[in-house]
């Protein structure tokens, strides 16, 4: 019982940190701040899902944890390339 309360409390804290990141997404003066915040949201999600899985005694969401890890990386890279070079995928002839 106490364990569950701890888990829920930690979920609440994670939610709070997601909200704080959203504040950065909305406010963040530059694009880089926002992308950084999005990446952080992804990591917070991973943590939340892990806590949630413990709470539900299931391992159905473990794939998802891995996937978010990969995809939030891909997303961040895509955003970074876009802000840096103005495009995501390099065209052959444009070198």
């Amino acid at each position: 019982m106490t364990f569950e309360i701890i888990m829920i409390v930690s979920l609440c804290f994670l939610t709070l940190s997601i909200l704080a990141n959203i504040y950065r997404v909305v406010k963040g003066p530059s694009s880089a701040d926002r992308i950084q915040a999005l990446d952080a949201i992804g990591i917070n999600l991973i943590a939340s899902i892990a806590v949630f899985s413990v709470l539900l005694h299931t391992h159905a969401f473990f794939d998802l944890i891995l996937l978010i890890g990969i995809l939030s990386f891909v997303g961040t890279v895509a955003f970074s390339r876009f802000t840096e070079r103005g495009m995501v995928i390099k065209q052959k002839d444009e070198g």
């Binding site: 959203i22 949201i41 996937l67 995809l71 939030s72 995501v88």
Partner: protein, 803 residues
Amino acid sequence: MNSLHMLIFIPFVFAMAIPLLYKLFHPKIHLGWFVLLIPLVIFLHLLRYIPLVAKGDHLTTSLAWLPSMEMNLDFYLDGLALLFGLLISGIGVLVIIYSIFYLSKHREELHKFYMYLMMFMGAMLGLVFSDNIFILYGFWELTSISSFLLIAFWYERKSSRDGAMKSLLITVFGGLCMFAGMIMLTLITDTYSIREMILNVEFVQAHKLFIPVIICILLGAFTKSAQFPFSIWLPGAMEAPTPVSAYLHSATMVKAGIYLVARFTPVFGGSSVWFWLVSGIGIITLLYGSITAVRQTDLKALLAYSTISQLGLIMSLLGIGSFTFYFGPSEHGVTYSMAIFAAIFHLFNHSMFKGSLFMVVGIIDHETGTRDIRRLGGLMQLMPVSFTVALIGGFSMAGLPPFNGFLSKEMFFKAVNDVRVAEIFHLETLGMLFPLLAWIASIFTFVYSMILVFKTFSGKYRQEKLNRDVHEAPFGMLIPSVILAFFVVVIFLFPNVFSKYLLKPAFVAILPMFTIDKVDIKISAWHGWNTELLMTIGVVIMGSLLFITVKRWVPLLKQYPQWLTLNNLFEKSLEKVERYSLTLTNRYMTGSIRHYFIYIFSFFVIVLAGSLLLLHGIQFDVSEDNVISIYDVGLVLGVMIAALTVLFTSNRMTAIVALSVVGYLVTMFFVIFRAPDLALTQMVVETVTTVLFLLCFYHLPKLQKKIGRIKFKLTNLIVSVATGLTITILALSSNSHKLFEPISYFFENAYELAGAKNIVNAILVDFRGFDTMLEISVLCIAGLGVYTLARFRMKGSDQNEAE
């Protein structure tokens, strides 16, 4: 398939053979000689039925077409149908002879002409012989279409095309109204057969749809028969070749409305609405047509208005004759039944003299090159035969002895005089109008008949105004008009022969309460010094006076403002309707997709919110809802903030990042609601979508990159808020209305049924595999679509985009 069916389908079958004949024999033999056979055969064949019909018998025959719908080719031959059949085929023969000499085989597209004409003839025969009301309607529209084709026979002329379009618009409008009336009539009587409707009269007269039915059916009849105010198409139809005008627009098609009224008189007769509409409109048409005809300078236009006026005369007689159904076969009833007889008689006479007059006008046009009265004159010596025919036809039209028009005109006067003593339907006071209007109209009829005969044939011959040597028409052109003129005289001399064999059977067909051997009708040329004869003498005196002074008062008629004519009103309103509909369409079809979205969403809100409110569907039930934890609230808050950021940001990059946040948080929701597969998919799709957005941004034109935040528009705000609210309320309400048990228990057996532990996957590929297959094809199509869009660029596509 018996001989009656054969008769009606021969013209259609032959019409198909015409192109072949044209190919084989053109230009050696005039196509008309082959076509001539058809009406001749029909005419001779119909003559054989005269003894049968004269006995008061009739013939019925049926050919299954759609038996399950009771739509069969039921044909019915009685006196009325036979009279029309003989007119159609008989005058058809004469018109085709005339057309052989009128239309050049080198210059005209004869195969088209005769195909249309055969189509018309078959349609007209089918119309008069049909017993099934919808088969009648089919043939009715076929006459409209073939008439349209014939009027625009010289399609390279604008006036022909205009005339054809006007006549099609008006007659098809009427035809569709009639169709509605017919449907109502079949609903009332529960039968498609006209004869059975006549047997069920009491249902019809007592039904609440009685007046709408009358109005709809009469709209059809009035538009076809060119009654006021639908008469405007008939003068326009004079752009057709003269044989067509003679055949369709004097003898046959314009009488289809008369036929319809006569056919349905037993169903509607005896009611005051029917009488006032038929007789009232008829007498107005009579007066309007005769006065307008005097103004005309074109001979064919004059004849067109005269046709309108004579059709009005017949129509008003049919209305008066419907009293017979009010009084029954009493003494009164017999008196008014004479009006029906007069209508049939005049219909018969009119076909003769009007046909001959049209042919004469065609001859004049053909020989002098003009139909303008102001350029014609003094043709008497040059064209003696035409003059004789015109004289006979014109005097008959004016109602003078010794021609058949005299007899029917006298009967008409008698009928309108009898209206006064009817003392029903408010006729005690208004009844006086009938003889008065009829008399005035007859005077004008006399005047225009005299104008037609004397302005063209007497007076000075003006060679300088005509650009060719005028001489008598070829023999073949004169023959048909001479035959018709001959009949005009013969009918006057021996009216009772025609009456016994043709008119009486038709009379009995309209008035079924009389039997043929009990009817005692004697037409006599001399009937004593009575009111009718005095009226005719008055017509002659007044008419002669007016004709002598015609130059003084006709300009007065021409003072009538041009913009107030019916024709002008029709054209102006057509123009207005086109303009207003264009303006209206342009107003809401702006081409802007934002506007269309506003329409779509407003409509959506109105329909859904409206039905929710009207059906009292709003209901919230929270008893079965789950407990909401604190982190759920936090996540919802996060989604809301991110979504609002998309709306209010001025930076594209921020918008897309915020959108990603929404996507990530939705993944979290899927987790909370225990949907791991959905969460996986959502995450992948979210990332791919983001990458695609970024790809698109790279290609945006430089100019528009500076777009700031979305502009505020009140309409958009209202529509979007309303849409959101509607959806929310709908979702909450439907969640509170759980009517059935969910079927998910079935899928919970996934392991036993499909051997799968993951029920989502089992549903996707096993239980509901079809959906998955089609969604895969959707993805394939999308992929191929993107590939083709990116890869295959048509030449000039860039310019199109720039536009």
